[in-house]
């Protein structure tokens, strides 16, 4: 009898060929194009809410609108995580796929005494897309009214605004000096967001690139 296992699926249909990585069905396509879009939904996404000013906020060390890349010990290994100040008193922590339990434990331990704190795993409730390339800002500018210039939105900045008409978290996270944005939205709108970015990037030669864990 064939062995079976649970496979998580992103709301964004993986471009062929499809493989299973870290328990997620992802695209195995590899692109060398100057502008790529990658479905990063398999990344662990944990939201934490607390008072904008308080012990928990101090321990997270990330103000609203900024991003910090930190190394946390998850289980028995050191992992790179991204802490995003996604709103006033609201943070989004991105970690490698499958690290929900460890991240929630870490964040629960981080909560300040006496603070009213909520920690919620959003890994399967949000879609996350990475747009990378020197034209990434031009593509995103077709979908949002936000000023994406370096003076307003430098590397390490984050904001929530309308992207393709959806409420979306946008994180500027450049990769090796190349512009890159992570765009997250509600799971049910993920495919629409992905398709909108592909359509907007068509004139710039955008291609789909597959997810490679940990990719954070």
């Amino acid at each position: 009898m064939a062995e079976t296992g649970v496979v998580a699926r992103s709301p964004i249909a993986p471009a062929a060929p499809e493989i299973i990585l870290a328990g997620w069905a992802v695209s195995a396509r590899r692109s060398g194009a100057a502008l790529t879009v990658t479905d990063c939904t398999p990344l662990t996404k944990v939201a934490i809410k607390a008072a904008p000013v308080g012990a928990t906020a101090e321990r997270l060390e990330v103000p609203f609108g900024r991003v910090s890349r930190q190394t946390w010990t998850l289980g028995d290994r050191d992992c790179s995580v991204m802490v995003v100040g996604s709103g006033p008193g609201e943070w989004l922590v991105l970690g490698p796929p499958g690290s929900q339990v460890s991240l929630i434990h870490q964040l629960s331990a981080l909560a300040g005494d006496g603070d009213l704190v909520a920690v919620v795993d959003l890994s399967h409730g949000r879609a996350l897309v990475r747009l990378t390339g020197s034209w990434a800002a031009e593509v995103l500018a077709k979908e949002t009214a936000m000023d994406l210039g370096d003076s307003v939105c430098p590397d390490g900045a984050a904001f929530r605004s309308a992207v393709a008409g959806l409420a979306a978290d946008v994180i500027r996270d450049d990769r090796d000096g190349t512009r890159s944005y992570l765009v997250g939205c509600e799971r049910s709108s993920g495919q629409y967001l992905f398709d909108s970015l592909l359509e907007s990037g068509a004139e710039f030669g955008i291609e789909v690139d597959g997810f490679v864990p940990p990719d954070i």
């Binding site: 609203f64 709103g87 006033p88 609201e90 009214a145 904001f159 929530r160 605004s161 309308a162 409420a167």
Partner: protein, 79 residues
Amino acid sequence: MILIPCPWCGSRDAGEFAYGGEPTPRPDPRTATREQWRGYLYLRNNVAGWTTERWYHRMGCRRYLTVQRNTVTNEVRQP
């Protein structure tokens, strides 16, 4: 286009917000008359000119804010 100055996010397009309407003081339901309660629920001043409004930044910081808007010119300013 109406730009609304959000104290957390800066000026954003009104499309990112949900209109909350004129802030109306809520009468005490134990002592309010039917007329007072009806006025609280349904009647607004609807002035032509500057009015104070509540808006909800649903696509941004998800906070309520109060601004003043000129209903004739759609000019918006901090109260």
